[in-house]
Symmetry: C2
Subunit: 130 residues, 2 copies
DNA sequence: CATTAATCTTATCATTTTCTAAGATATGCT
DNA sequence: AGCATATCTTAGAAAATGATAAGATTAATG
């Protein structure tokens, strides 16, 4: 039915979906994904993470802070050091499911590349220019 | 050990983590999360999604395209309409795990709020200003 | 209290993402 | 072909995000 151009947003911005989107967006940075993987085997200090990630203290603090605010990480202080750890082990399950999804998409993509020589033409889906 | 400021990135930007981050970033928008939830019970046309989401065709196409490129969605054309569906059901498992993680964080946050009246002061974690 | 080490914060700028508007393509129909 | 509907693409403005640099806190130690 919708045919015309320009149609403005109307209702409230669906806060539930915004919360979920914020959660995923927090995971949407290579350094932050790496931090989670580094913390798979237990807690590490900011300094240790800094070294492994090869970033400065500002970057480390900012990324860690974002993930702590999002509830992904927990921290405790010991002297001048601060240890971070993953708060909920289900976070790793999430990462694993994501890995599977990405993996099967990559395989599919790879399979399609092979068909370029075989079955006549590229089996283009809608919107994929040939 | 690291004490000094400024330390530049050195090695390659870890493409594996970039790929994972891109995946999560694709999920990092309220409209895109909503699209996945709307497609939980099966495929819908762009026009149907447009109506339910109250967005214009440009926005719909852009979001759908991003998710199709990421391998989250699949599409098929039927006449002038295009039907979109979620490619892999594990995507819903991912959403469910995310929901659980968000939920338990919200509960924790809520519990902390309650303590403001009881146990003297706000039990501030590292870095939370009082 | 001064010093040092570790972490956090703020400000600014560059980059990326999203929104909006306009138009281009594709399909079906007469 | 000409027209209508649905979807996609592009371009530029606006908003959000990330990188960098400088400095502020916090805690331990002499």
């Amino acid at each position: 039915m919708p045919k015309s151009h320009r149609k403005a947003q109307t209702g409230p911005p669906e806060p539930i979906h915004r919360i979920k989107a914020d959660f995923f967006r927090t995971l949407g940075h290579p350094t932050r994904v790496r931090i989670l993987e580094l913390l798979r085997d237990g807690e590490l200090t900011v300094g240790e993470l800094q070294t492994k990630l090869e970033i400065d203290s500002s970057g480390a603090s900012q990324h860690l802070g974002a993930m702590r605010r999002q509830g992904l990480l927990d921290s405790r202080r010991a002297g001048t050091s601060v240890y971070y750890r993953v708060r909920d082990p289900r976070t790793f399950q999430l990462l694993e499911t994501a890995r599977q999804l990405i993996s099967s998409h990559l395989e599919e993509t790879h399979a399609l590349l092979g068909e370029l020589d075989d079955s006549g033409e590229a089996p283009r889906k809608v919107g994929t220019k040939g």
